[in-house]
């Protein structure tokens, strides 16, 4: 009977009415059980009585039915005497309002995926339109609030009856960041002090496919009804999941870019992948991806001065099958944020090559045409005269017919190439000389000669070297080695036993490549500094340094700023970020090329997504289909119309007539 508590029927309380009805029913049942039995009359035959009153087949059923009618009649009379009106007490008004919530809190997903195209705008625009429509249709007594769920949860509009703040927050909300912390947003909603939990209702607007379970669990924990809304259609998006530069850097300072593209949709896709800078296109190719496939593409290009490089996906088409194969249609790429990857290329550090020779036109010409090579020519005399200082810092030093004395000229540079050194000073023991030695073997696996053909190399005269333990016999003859390579730690040495001019090697196509390979092999032994500029993942916080403030500039996005009057100025979009005493985390709002300038200097870096979390647009959460009940005006007794007591009295009267009719039949 708890549902009757507090209900009042004019005159009588519900408890009194129930008591009166119960007593009436009990009396009726007692009367039924102990009623006086009718007299027994003997008649000659039932023949005439059967003609007058046909037999009742089941008199007991009739009696029970009559008893039921009597009970209903008594209850109807008892209720009618109470002159009831449905006027719940104040305590029950709130209970009634549970079904029509008066606090509506909305959580809107602000992750990057909400920036995907949906109709004429974005998914966030669709949410804003639907949400504003919902809010505008609510009665004035309903309070609304808005919470944004990006990487961090924040209250965009506190709970209030005023809708203007919510509309403004919706229209100015921007997507940004990787992922939406719905859990934090829901926790923030539950902790809002102004929220009336028993009257509250939550709606979560998101495209996160896993939001349904999360919201349902939260609703169960808090007892606040919650719905998931997704007022947009599934879409497709290709995503760049990796963009790596410098994988095959070399001389002639060739860069290699690795781009990895993923197709997280259930549809096959065709697109064009381009690699470009702000001014030039470095490469472009068509790519085809099966559903769920991830592919790699590599591009090589000449070294660039310090600039940003972008990998761009364009002209994306998803081949979506309809119910039948004949109904093939295409979908474009809905999310732009994952279609670009950025890297900042630092200026290539030039390779320093020293040539210590009295004159070697072959080497000089080859080294002179190699881009990115800073060649310094020096004669052996100058080297001995002190010009050799600093040779140890060079990437490679060619000694042509000359070997410095350690006591006089200092130690042999760590990366040196000795061309026809004097036999007495050769670091590799010399077995003797050989005229027109026959090249019997060469090490094509070594970086110096990889991919080259030296089979018919002709040498007029050469020293025959004796490789020591750990040395590599690069070119050999029947009696020894003509070229020997040595590697001891980060020290590298190549000894050629013959003068280049005494062979036909400089005339061969393999010669420049041999020199390039030699330089690369020498240079790569040096500890490398990071050649690329800083790269940063959006999902990680970027720690800013520099007390006072840091200016972040988007190097790819132009900003319009009203200068004065109607004049518009175009420039880089930049903004100031406050920085505390220590490292301060900062989340970039979108992928791109950014410059961070602070007291410590300027850092250029590419900010990338490199995740599929925001790209899975094809699957949506199972949006709740039920609607939130609208608050209805409280029913009030109608003083002029028919009142319930009249209906009850008429009902009891009708029941009485029916019962009397059954009784008299």
């Amino acid at each position: 009977m708890s549902w009757l508590q507090g209900w009042e029927l004019f005159g009588w309380s519900a408890r009194q009415v129930a008591l009166a009805g119960g007593i009436g029913v009990a009396l009726l049942i007692l009367w039924f059980l102990f009623r006086p039995r009718p007299p027994r009359v003997e008649v000659s035959s039932h023949v005439l009585w059967d003609q007058v009153a046909p037999k009742n087949r089941n008199p007991l059923l009739k009696e029970l039915l009559m008893l039921l009618l009597q009970i209903l009649m008594v209850l109807g009379i008892a209720l009618a005497l109470g002159d009831p009106h449905w006027s719940p007490p104040p305590g029950d008004v709130e209970q009634e309002a549970v079904q029509a919530p008066l606090d509506r809190l909305h959580v809107v997903d602000l992750s990057l995926s909400m920036g995907a195209r949906s109709g004429d705008g974005t998914r966030l625009d669709a949410v804003a339109d639907a949400l504003v429509d919902d809010v505008d249709g609510l009665p004035a007594e309903v309070r609304v609030g808005l919470i944004g769920a990006g990487p961090f949860a924040e209250i965009l509009a506190p709970i209030a009856s005023d809708r203007s703040r919510l509309r403004l927050a919706l229209r100015t909300a921007q997507v940004g960041g990787v992922g939406s912390d719905l859990r934090a947003a829901l926790a923030l909603a539950a902790a809002m002090p102004s929220l009336r939990r028993e009257l509250a209702h939550m709606e979560v607007w998101t495209d996160d496919p896993d939001a349904g379970e999360l919201v349902a669990a939260w609703s169960e924990d808090t007892g606040i009804p919650a719905l998931v809304r997704a007022p947009f259609a599934p879409a497709g998006s290709l995503a760049i999941t990796a963009f790596d530069l410098g994988a095959a850097r070399g001389i002639p300072a060739e860069e290699e870019a690795l781009v990895r593209i993923a197709n997280p949709t259930p549809w096959p896709a065709i697109a064009r992948l381009a690699l470009e800078t702000e001014d030039a296109r470095l490469g472009e190719a068509e790519v085809r991806l099966a559903p769920g496939e991830e592919i790699e593409r590599r591009y090589r290009f000449l070294p660039l001065p310090g600039t940003g490089v972008e990998a761009v996906i364009r002209e994306v088409e998803f081949r979506v099958s309809g119910p039948e194969d004949a109904e093939l249609r295409t979908l474009p790429d809905a999310l732009a944020a994952d279609d670009r990857a950025y890297a900042w290329v630092e200026p290539v550090r030039p390779v320093t090559v020293w040539l210590v020779s009295d004159g070697n036109r072959y080497l000089e010409r080859v080294l002179a045409v190699l881009p990115g090579v800073q060649l310094r020519r020096i004669s052996p005399a100058e080297y001995r005269g002190g010009g050799g200082r600093g040779a140890s810092n060079a990437d490679v030093v060619f000694f042509d017919g000359f070997v410095p004395l350690e006591k006089r000229d200092g130690p042999l540079p760590p990366r040196a190439v000795l061309l026809s050194p004097p036999p007495s000073r050769s670091p590799v023991p010399v077995l003797g000389g050989a005229d027109k030695p026959v090249v019997t073997d060469w090490d094509l696996e070594h970086p110096l000669f990889r991919g080259l053909v030296l089979r018919d190399l002709e040498v007029e005269r050469s020293m025959v070297l004796d490789p020591q333990e750990g040395d590599v016999r690069l070119i050999g003859t029947t009696t020894g080695a003509l070229v020997v390579g040595r590697q001891r730690g980060d020290r590298r040495l190549v000894v050629w036993g013959f003068d280049l001019g005494a062979s036909d090697l400089p005339l061969r196509l393999a010669f420049p490549q041999t020199i390039v390979n030699t330089v690369l092999w020498m240079r790569d032994s040096r500890p490398m500094e990071p050649a690329l500029g800083g790269r940063h993942l959006m999902s990680d916080p970027y720690w800013l340094q520099g007390e006072g403030g840091v200016v972040v500039t988007d190097l790819r996005q132009a900003a319009y700023a009203r200068d004065s009057g109607d004049a518009l100025a175009l420039g880089r979009a930049s903004w100031q970020v406050s920085v505390g005493d220590g490292p301060t985390p900062y989340a970039f709002p979108r992928p791109g090329l950014f410059a961070v300038e602070g007291p410590a200097g300027r850092v250029d870096l590419g900010v990338n997504l490199f995740t599929l979390d925001e790209s899975r647009l094809a699957s949506l959460p199972a949006a709740s289909t039920e609607r939130v009940p609208e608050p209805s005006p409280q029913p009030k007794p109608d003083p002029e119309g028919r009142t319930p007591w009249l209906v009850l009295a008429v009902g009891a009267f009708v029941l009485g007539i029916v019962e009397f009719g059954m009784y008299t039949r």
Partner: protein, 294 residues
């Protein structure tokens, strides 16, 4: 001999009155033995019927000598022969017959038997209930009326009335035609018309005497009652309202009217006896008025 009550059918004063009455048949029935009733037989009698030529062997006393003198031919005079009349009394002994009705029927039946026996007619008593019970056919002597009374007094009420079965059995066993007087309340579950039709088609002269208690003409009570059927033992619960009482009254009258209409349409004797009225009135007045007795 003990003094008899005035309503006793064997009361000497009443018997004396009965000796002036005789059973009158509307048809001519032929009995086996000579008696006082007209018959279809031609022979010795009082009433002239016809002449026929004399044949050797005829009694000379039967020759009409006057006719011989006029026609010079020997002719024998024939007369209507008077034979006995069979009076079959079908007496309802079912349980629907209350004590009053049973007594009334018994008295009427005894008186009629006495009238028949006193005039050398035959009286047969056939009790019936759910079938035909053991009959009783007394000798042709008016003193046998006492036996009729005792026989009916000893007959136990039995079962429900199956009038059709009783009539069918009666028509099957009885050979001699005569008057069949049914004394019953005719409250048979299976109806009464089929039984009477069987008797009529059996070439009996059928008479109907309906007996009823005066309380049967009205509903026994108002309000809710349990009606107990004396005949079948069944009960039914009924709330008797004015409407139902009126309908019952109407049904009771219709029941008697139906019997009366049936009798009139087939030229049968019909009388309705109420147990609150003296049975002598039935015998001495009603039956004489309706020409069963004369």
């Amino acid at each position: 001999m003990a003094e008899r009550a005035p309503d006793d059918p064997l009361n000497p004063d009443f018997l004396r009155k009965l000796e002036y009455l005789r059973v009158v048949a509307r048809k001519v029935h032929t009995g086996r033995f000579s008696a006082l009733q007209r018959s279809r037989k031609l022979g010795r009698g009082i009433d002239f019927a016809d002449h026929r030529p004399y044949t050797p062997g005829d009694d000379f006393k039967d020759i009409d000598w006057n006719l011989y003198g006029r026609l010079d031919r020997l002719m024998v005079r024939l007369a209507e022969e008077e034979t006995e009349l069979n009076l079959y009394l079908l007496v309802d002994c079912s349980k629907s017959m209350s004590a009053h009705k049973a007594t009334y029927v018994r008295q009427v039946a005894t008186a009629l038997a006495y009238v028949a026996l006193a005039h050398l007619d035959r009286a047969h008593v056939y009790p019936f209930g759910d079938g035909l019970l053991r009959p009783f056919s007394p000798n042709r002597h008016k003193a046998q009326a006492v036996q009729v009374y005792r026989w009916l007094q000893a007959a136990e009420p039995s079962g429900a009335t199956d009038f059709s079965a009783a009539c069918k059995a009666f028509a099957g066993v009885v050979r001699g035609r005569g008057i069949v007087l049914v004394l019953s309340d005719f409250l048979a579950p299976g109806g009464w018309q089929q039984g009477l039709d069987l008797l009529r088609h059996g070439r009996f002269e059928v008479g109907i005497m309906q007996v009823s208690d005066p309380e049967e003409a009205e509903a026994p009570a108002k309000g809710e009652v349990i009606l107990h059927d004396r005949e079948t033992g069944a009960t039914r619960r009924l709330r008797i309202t004015d409407g139902i009482a009126a309908a019952y009254r109407k049904a009771f009258l219709a029941h008697g009217q139906g019997l009366q209409d049936y009798a009139r349409s087939h030229n049968l004797f019909y009388a309705h006896g109420r147990t609150d009225q003296p049975f002598e009135q039935m015998i001495l007045k009603t039956m004489c008025t309706e020409r069963l007795l004369a």
